[in-house]
Amino acid sequence: MSVRHQVSDELLLDYASGSLSEGWRIAVASHLALCPQSRRRLAVMELTAGALIEEEQPESSTADDDDAWSAMRTRLAAGGGALSGGVDTPRPVSRDAIVLPEPLRSYAGGDVGSLKWRPLGRGAYHILIPTADKSTSVRLLRIPAGKPVPEHGHGGRELTLVLSGSFNDGGEVFARGDLEEADETLEHQPVATPGEDCICLAVTDAPLKFRSWLVRLVQPVLGI
């Protein structure tokens, strides 16, 4: 089944240009692993960047270029061996057996079965995924069938990638590979579809230190 909710152009452009920080990048890259259509759109963006590079009018002189080429020749002579051709042989593992695609699986340290899930209450579990990116918080969530996704740090941008099962948000169903993009303007309450637990990746803006206790204080007042 093909992915219905693809990454938006603006987020994909941030990925294509290299400006997306690590936390968001994990979600977009894992979505791309599951969605050939989004990869096709990424290819068009990279083609566009290539065309822009073609159109560049470099200011370097012929002397600069000669210097650069002789520097490169020296390096090649010193043994810059070319890689031999040929495609890597795929690993003999059934595709359906694995829930977490790369790069997520490496970040998590294994597939869902081997991970240590921590209870969140009401039958939900989560796992924090460590990254070097302090501006985001990355976690796996496991939501019991038919139950709402617990609050996990709203107030900014949020990306949710479905990995197993599905959830329903405002009448729209998100299944494996689907990516939901939300920001502070979007009010949403995803609910896991009955019949199967839903495992998803949630990336949010990292809550500020002071905000965590402040929000807890004002949350009941503001109703957020």
């Binding site: 690590e22 050939p36 290819a43 068009v44 290539g50 073609e54 490169m72 061996g81 790369e102």
Partner: protein
């Protein structure tokens, strides 16, 4: 260019590589210069990019691939790796969980060559505001939200310009807009 790069991959042809190098080295240097603003570092990153082009030339698909786009991705990846020093999260086509592309039609190679010409044509037809945005994204490496604040535009305007631009480019390539 694709044939030259294929010759580099197949025969490690130094003559072919010199042509590729002389065409792309100045462009990649100028791309790097816009991003790192340090001539020495830009030169090093350019050399590193071209070295990678030499080493990986055999992995380039001369039938379906596009040389400029391929070299751009190498340059971009080296640039982000040098800057962030954290691992770059990427999908892995050899991962058993990776969902492969559907079978390509037989005329895909012909289309890849056609595509380049059609894309250049379509890019010329984009309004200046959309072209500027592409330049900012790829050559200044700013995110769409940073573009919005730099140009003092509402985020929604920037998003819709990005969508319009790529919608047009995709339909020029015969893709779903």
């Amino acid at each position: 260019m694709a044939r030259l790069l294929a010759a580099v991959g197949r025969d490690a042809s130094m003559e072919a590589f010199e042509v590729v190098f002389r065409n792309y080295a100045p462009r990649i240097r100028s791309y790097m210069m816009r991003l790192v603003r340090d001539p020495q570092m830009a030169e090093e990153l350019m050399q590193e990019t071209m070295m990678t082009v030499w080493r990986k030339a055999a992995l380039f698909d001369a039938e379906k691939g596009n040389v400029s786009a391929w070299i751009f991705t190498i340059a971009r990846n080296l640039r982000t790796d040098s800057f962030r020093r954290t691992r770059r999260a990427d999908f892995d086509p050899n991962d058993p969980a990776f969902v492969p592309d559907p079978e390509q039609p037989a005329d895909a190679a012909f289309e890849a060559r056609e595509a380049e010409a059609r894309l250049h044509e379509a890019m010329k037809g984009l309004p200046a505001e959309q072209r500027d945005l592409l330049h900012l994204a790829f050559f200044e490496e700013v995110s769409h939200s940073e573009i919005a604040s730099r140009l003092a535009l509402p985020l929604g305007t920037v998003k819709s310009r990005i969508r319009l631009a790529f919608g047009k480019l995709r339909s020029a390539l015969g893709e779903r807009p």
